[in-house]
């Protein structure tokens, strides 16, 4: 940076420069005020502090007369911090926990959930007439018993004044509440079943849409022994697993989030239930990425060579048509290919009169996803190879010819090495991209076909689709383990991309 110039010099800039500075000042202050208002309203002081620090930094950087490189770097820095660095760090911290279904919240949350879901109806339980109503979009139970009216929410039971009681003893209207019609109520019946109104020693739950009962909790937490007790036994808190376990090894469904150290990271390598999958998926992942690079580059270069001939006609027309797949939306074409492979309706089976479940058997499914990616990827390689061929000086080839080289020798010793020089960085970045080609697998096979005895790992799964299913699949979310997998995938890709950038010689510019 040119630090030699006087600090005052920057202020002497044009009137436009000063106007720009005033504009920036106004913009920063306006955004800061807009951003801070809801945080103040919500008493979110951490948020307020972050906004204050960022605003102060922005004002300092853009108003100081000194020429700071950070003026150019601040927007990038903030974006990368918020949407790249924080997610990576947070992923790493999640990888050290058992977070997932059944382990989402704190121990307090788990105890509350265990107690309220254990509520059972006992003989002689108090009964209420139930009216389902709504307030601000949330469901409310309007409860009537022996002429008294109450409101019941997840927050508890409260007396209700000014309710109108109908003929059957049910509340028909109450100020501030919108009573749901029978049709509206039955449409939300699952929400109604899940609404539990906690009361001393138990809770009130609905039974059907017009009755509610006061049940007794069959499980209770005892602080003295740090355990949950019930008729069927005692479940002791296991702080390592983050759940309540009985002496005979049964565990309650609701647990809490605890740190598990490096267990998730080592599980991928040492746990026999997981590492067999991990290594298998990793192997196919390498085969997939390598094959895609070799196939697309091979076909792309071959076509470029075919068209690269001084007396070849209609080259421009061929080129325009061959590049067309590159212009089509990839996500949509992946779905089109999937449906062309469809057993019952697919074009391929109908055209050839076959009845093959292409995506249903491991081998054909793997060949299919490779073919699809070849189709999507080769036009790009063809474009690059065409460009590179045109930059090879014809003198090299003539010189080789004069020296008596055959056509094959000229290709192998001159053309191909020069082509590879131009293609090398692209091959590395293509490998890195396809290593994580989520769409390429997920939209075609969704990782399948799956073996009958193991629905978690499919034949075409890449690490990334396997991880995705761990986190969001039907089997119950395991965010902690999925985060650990993410870290492995990240390490592999980071190494690949560093190699890629080294090859493009961009890396050595760092030191200059």
């Amino acid at each position: 940076m040119n630090t030699g110039r006087s600090a005052a010099g920057a202020w002497q800039g044009s009137a436009g420069g000063i106007a720009a500075r005033v504009l920036v000042l106004g913009l920063i202050v306006a955004v800061a005020l807009w951003a801070v208002a809801p945080l103040l309203a919500a008493d979110n002081w951490t948020g307020v502090a972050i906004v204050a620090v960022v605003t102060a930094a922005g004002l300092f950087v853009y108003l100081t007369p000194r020429r700071l490189p950070v003026k150019y770097l601040l927007p990038t820095t903030l974006l990368v911090l918020a949407f790249q660095v924080f997610p990576v760090v947070h992923t790493m911290s999640l990888a050290l926990t058992n977070i997932g279904d059944g382990h989402l919240g704190t121990k307090q949350d788990a105890i509350a959930a265990i107690e309220s879901s254990s509520v059972k109806r006992q003989p002689g339980s108090a009964e209420f007439r139930l009216t389902v109503a709504e307030k601000d979009g949330d469901l409310v139970f309007l409860l009537a018993s022996a002429g008294r009216a109450y409101t019941g929410t997840a927050g508890g039971l409260r007396p209700l004044e000014g309710a109108t009681l109908g003929a059957g003893g049910r509340i028909t209207a109450a100020g501030g509440y919108t009573v749901l019609t029978a049709a509206q109520a039955s449409a939300r019946s699952s929400e109604i079943t899940e609404l539990i109104v906690p009361v001393e020693g138990g809770a009130i739950r609905s039974q059907g849409l017009s009755r509610a009962y006061r049940g007794t909790a069959t499980l209770a937490y005892d602080e003295g022994c740090d355990c949950v007790t019930g008729q069927d036994g005692v479940w002791r808190a296991d702080e390592e697993q983050g759940r309540f376990v009985s002496d005979d090894g049964r565990a309650l469904a609701q647990g809490w989030k605890v740190g598990v150290g490096l267990a998730n990271l080592t599980a991928a390598l040492t746990n026999p239930k997981i590492n067999a999958h991990f290594l298998g998926v990793f192997g196919w992942n390498l085969v997939y990425a390598t094959s895609v690079v070799v196939l697309t580059a091979g076909l792309g270069v071959a076509v470029a060579l075919v068209l690269h001939h001084p007396r070849m006609r209609a080259v421009r027309a061929y080129r325009t048509l061959i590049v067309l797949p590159y212009a089509m939306p990839a996500f949509a074409m992946l779905l089109v290919w999937r449906d062309m492979f469809n057993t019952d309706f697919g074009l391929i089976n109908r055209m050839f009169g076959l009845d093959v479940d292409w995506l249903g058997a491991p081998l054909t499914a793997r060949l299919s996803v490779l073919l699809v990616q070849l189709w999507l990827g080769f036009p790009y390689m063809f474009l690059i190879a065409t460009g590179a061929l045109q930059t090879i000086p014809p003198e090299y080839l003539e010189a080789a010819q004069v020296d008596g080289a055959t056509a094959w020798q000229r290709f192998g010793k001159v053309t191909l090495p020069l082509l590879m020089l131009a293609l090398a960085p692209l091959l590395v970045s293509s490998f890195a991209f396809n290593f994580n080609n989520f769409n390429g697998i997920f939209l075609v096979t969704a990782g399948g076909p799956f073996p009958a005895d193991n629905p978690t790992v499919g034949a075409t799964d890449l690490l990334i689709t396997y991880t995705f299913r761990l986190a969001f699949g039907q089997q119950g979310a395991q965010y902690g383990l999925a985060s650990a997998m993410s870290i492995y995938v990240y390490l592999i890709v980071a190494v690949l991309s560093i190699i890629g950038f080294r090859r493009t010689r961009a890396f050595q510019e760092v030191g200059r």
Partner: protein
């Protein structure tokens, strides 16, 4: 020699056929009067605009289209603008932390954003609570997220190109009394049109094809993108909706081809520096 040319033509025709047949299938499905997958053929069996009419009137396709084009265009323009500014600092200034910053950017950008979808969801639920305009189901929030995912790699690409522009050019400007900002705007930026175009094109294509993040963060019908909307259309009724889906696919290609044509003169030149597609 004649024979060799004939063979070359045969090979070129075979590859062209391979490249074209799925596209031909999409075109004929789009025109297919029945509009189902099971009745779609490789060559058009009729010419009906029924699928197009169904798509435009019966679904929220126009909204998805607008969302996708808006998201892709804004992400492309803004991420390239922000990256170009920081690339200039990395290329022309020497300051403490420059090397660290560059290496950090390289390492951090290798993390595929969608791997961190759980933490990203955490960020966006906080944003939703405070600034709903940028939260879940808002295309503005997703644009910010996409930009954040693209600036790292774009800064590197653009910086590499800036490094090839002789410093003597901006030095001459500075000697003549310009500020570095003026040198950047009047000399470096105009000379960098190729890399800026390529970066913008690659971001545009990458963004319009992005499926995973959009499917998690944009679920409301008003906020969906083409990728999410068209996917859900096939998920509902794979056979019956295929004709509409084919029309949607062809219409989705239009903005990509338009941007491609617009920036074409730089394509072959700059593509070697760029990424890939899938």
């Amino acid at each position: 020699m004649k024979r060799e040319l004939l063979l070359r033509h045969l090979a070129a025709i075979a590859v062209t056929a391979f490249a074209l047949f799925p596209i031909l299938f999409v075109v004929s499905s789009a025109l297919n009067p029945l509009g189902t997958l099971s009745s779609a053929t490789l060559f058009p069996s009729g010419a009906s605009l029924g699928n197009a009419a169904d798509l435009l009137t019966g679904t929220a396709f126009p909204t998805w289209y607008l969302n996708s084009v808006l998201i892709a265009a804004l992400t492309a323009v803004l991420s390239v603008a922000v990256s170009a500014v920081s690339a200039y600092a990395f290329s022309r200034f020497r300051f403490a932390g420059r090397r660290t910053g560059l290496v950090a950017l390289l390492v951090i950008q290798a993390f595929p954003q969608f791997l961190a979808i759980v933490p990203l969801y955490v960020i966006f639920s906080v944003i939703s609570d405070n600034w709903p305009a940028f939260g879940l189901n808002s295309i503005w929030g997703v644009i910010l997220l996409y930009i954040g995912g693209q600036v790292g790699v774009n800064t590197w690409l653009i910086k590499g190109f800036f490094d090839t522009i002789p410093r003597e050019l901006d030095d001459a400007m500075l000697i003549d009394g310009c500020t570095p900002t003026q040198a950047f705007r009047k000399v470096v930026l105009p000379l960098s049109a190729p890399i800026l175009s390529i970066s913008a094109l690659l971001v545009f294509i990458g963004t319009i094809n992005e499926f995973l993040i959009a499917s998690v963060f944009l679920t409301g019908d008003d906020a969906r993108t083409l990728a999410v909307g068209l996917f859900s259309m096939l998920a509902d009724q794979r056979n019956a909706n295929f004709g509409m889906f084919a029309v949607g696919t062809l219409l989705t290609a239009v903005p990509t081809v338009a941007v491609f044509q617009f920036l074409q003169r730089y394509i072959v030149h700059g593509l070697t520096a760029g990424a890939v597609k899938g």
